[in-house]
């Protein structure tokens, strides 16, 4: 257990008495106790005292018998009530942002896109997000206005989306339009560029109000230009917005003025999930990983197959030749892009945790309550992995029997 570090400033702030005009402090107020149970040596000694002895005799094997448990730990006063949002009432110009929002949520790339948009908008401009469904994250990410366009989230019709963006451009006349340089975002940007006939500044790596920069000729040169109207922003090169949340005011946009709808050439579109058994580890969405705490690897492989996951391992198992090197997760193995990670018998060394830094949901099974992997996990289970694995298989089997398939 780590000891809490004292923060004199917050302690002083907590002792401040309200009402007085000048700052006044009630310094007699007790400092917040640490979370560690406090030992009471006298009570311990009394408990260790061997009765019926003429002289004072202590039975030291009775250690901790009378440890006094910590006094009540008050909730820490981190009053993080959301600060007032920044409002741009009459913006000089608009920056239209077209995030991907895969699965209806803002990804890291989308946040960086808003960071770039805020950079271009400055103090006087406003960013406007053109999204399929509103999200509470848009304001903190840096959106001043939000325009929701009703569209089927599952349908694939890029031409219709491009027409939507062009219609929004005609209705709002934004100074800049920003797209993420991702699979679908980059495609949309190019479609909008040819529809409007305006040049597109692709894969911008530097974005500021005065200049854009992008690599060209196999990263031998850097092309710079004043900010153009259409920009696509490369991943991981622009910082996401970190200021106070923005207003994210809902705005109605009339999309009737868009270009005429062309006949769709796409007859059908089906999403085919990646095959977890063959997908490269870096691309896998759900990884189940074994560490030194797992001895029965056949059982582990059965669990992986039953859960429909991609197998991973810690370095110890790969070094021992029990798992292929390609399965190693971590700094010297593969850095995962998975959304869920299930660690069985892994201690969670920093080198290993670097590989799972981007994973949103982590489940860990470990016999050690204080393992770093348990601290990092969203669900930590203190149990023997060798017993949990067959239990999972059995539970899945039971469910299959019950549903009768």
């Amino acid at each position: 257990m780590t000891r809490l570090r004292r923060d004199p400033r917050t302690e002083r702030a907590a002792a401040r008495t309200s009402g007085a005009e000048r700052p006044r402090y009630d310094l007699a107020l007790k400092a917040a106790p640490s979370r560690r149970p406090r030992r009471d040596p006298r009570a311990e000694a009394a408990a260790q005292r061997v009765p019926a002895a003429a002289r004072l005799r202590l039975d030291r094997s009775q250690f901790g018998a009378a440890t006094v448990v910590a006094t009540h730990v008050p909730e820490r006063q981190t009053d993080k009530a959301s600060p007032k949002p920044i409002i741009v009432e009459n913006p000089d110009f608009l920056v239209l942002v077209v995030p991907d929002m895969a699965g209806g949520r803002l990804g890291e790339h989308d946040r960086q896109l808003f960071g770039a948009a805020r950079e271009l908008a400055g103090k006087t401009g406003a960013t406007l997000a053109l999204v399929g469904a509103s999200s509470a994250d848009l304001g903190p990410a840096g959106a001043d206005r939000v325009a929701v366009v009703a569209r089927d989230p599952d349908a694939y019709d890029p031409d219709a989306r491009a027409a939507e963006v062009v219609a929004a451009m005609r209705a709002l006349d934004p100074k800049h339009v920003l797209f993420p340089e991702s699979a679908d975002g980059g495609d949309l940007a190019r479609r909008v560029s040819v529809l409007t006939g305006e040049p597109l500044f692709t894969e911008a790596e530097q974005v500021s109000a005065s200049a854009l920069g992008r690599p060209a000729r196999c990263r031998k040169v850097e092309q710079r230009s004043v900010p153009t109207r259409l920009i696509s922003v490369a991943a991981d090169s622009v910082a996401s917005y970190s200021g106070a949340p923005r207003e994210a005011r809902n705005e109605q946009v009339d999309l009737a003025s868009g270009p005429a709808k062309t006949a769709g050439a796409i007859v059908s579109a089906t999403r085919i999930p990646a095959d977890p058994a063959t997908v490269p580890l870096a691309l896998a969405d759900f990884v189940v990983s074994a560490g030194n705490g797992v001895t029965d690897l056949d059982m582990f492989r059965q669990v992986v197959a039953a859960l429909g996951a991609t197998p991973g391992a810690s370095r110890v198992l790969c070094d021992a030749g029990l798992m292929p090197r390609a399965a190693q997760v971590g700094a010297s193995g593969t850095v995962l892009g998975a959304s869920c990670y299930f660690a069985l018998g892994i201690a969670g060394a920093p080198q290993h945790l670097q590989g799972v830094a981007d994973c949103e949901h982590i489940v860990a099974v470990n016999t050690d309550l204080h393992a770093a992997m348990i601290a990092r996990a969203g669900l930590g289970i203190i149990q023997d992995a060798q017993l949990v694995m067959p239990a999972i298989l059995e539970e899945l089997e039971r469910e299959r029997r019950e549903t009768g398939t």
């Binding site: 479609r191 089906t270 859960l307 996990a377």
Partner: protein, 274 residues
């Protein structure tokens, strides 16, 4: 099915020597599995057409034009006269501006749809073609598209056929002089300076070393952990499965069979005309 493969004058990223970009060589292989393929290059130099022959084409057309002129016009004119069912192109150029805009401009000029990032293609019934499109995280989107169509090829497509010198010698190249086009149409070339490598953006990291370590291992975002101690393995297994279902990586118990969620269908048929 007749296929035209657009060929560009690429540069090798390390040596700077002229090469055919890899995605275009992959496009040639993809085209070979579909039908009769021809190459098409617009530019001052015939090199890409020659390289394409070595990678598996029998015939390529080279439309000579001045360096720096816009290739879209001559490409579109030639495609209109050839009328192929499918036009294949690379995803991005290599060694030039690398904007990836040319296939889109060609498609717009021809008035045909464009499908980006193909990894596999199969002919379907009358005038339809089935295209597998690569999405992030190894997911595919299977599209059935009406021809004619412009398709760009993703780097995850099957690797190109090796270059064969004999094949390059046997193939034929038709050389055509292009009508002089408007040089440097559009915007003036942007200002260029030597590339300077910049550090990649990292997750928001604080000042101290401990904060940076937390940021890099993801501990900064972790929180609200639920730790279950003293549970039977059976209860633990139930908890794990419930958690996995809640985050959506495991199919609900009622769904048939183990494993993944069922494939989400993105039926776009209502957008199609009949």
């Amino acid at each position: 099915m007749r296929i035209a493969v657009l060929l560009s004058a690429g540069r090798h990223p390390v040596s700077g020597k002229p090469t055919l970009p890899r995605t275009e060589a992959q496009a040639i292989r993809m085209a070979a599995g579909l039908g009769a393929a021809t190459g098409l290059h617009v530019g001052p130099d015939a090199f890409p057409a020659e390289a394409a022959l070595g990678h598996g084409l029998d015939y390529a057309a080279h439309i000579a034009c001045a360096a720096g002129s816009d290739p879209v016009g001559p490409l579109a004119a030639r495609i209109v006269s050839d009328a192929p069912d499918i036009v294949l192109a690379g995803r991005r150029g290599q060694g030039g501006d690398e904007t990836g805009l040319v296939p889109y401009a060609v498609a717009a000029r021809l008035g045909v749809p464009i499908v980006p990032d193909a990894v596999a293609m199969r002919p379907a019934t009358d005038g339809l073609v089935e295209i597998d499109q690569a999405l992030p995280k190894g997911v595919l989107r299977r599209l059935v598209v009406r021809t004619p169509v412009v398709v760009t090829v993703h780097p995850a497509a099957p690797p190109p056929l090796p270059f064969a010198f004999g094949k390059a010698r046997r193939g034929s190249i038709e050389r055509i002089a292009a009508a002089p086009t408007d040089l440097a149409a559009g915007a003036p070339p942007p200002e260029e300076r030597p590339y300077r490598k910049r550090p990649k953006m990292m997750r928001a990291a604080g000042g101290s070393a401990a904060d940076r370590l937390k940021a890099v291992t993801g501990e900064a975002t972790a929180g609200g952990a639920k730790v279950l101690d003293h549970q039977t393995p059976e209860d633990a297994a139930k908890e794990v499965l419930a958690f996995l279902r809640r985050v959506g990586v495991l199919a609900p118990a009622s769904a048939a069979g183990p494993g993944r969620r069922p494939a989400a269908s993105e039926d776009a048929s209502r957008h199609a005309t009949s």
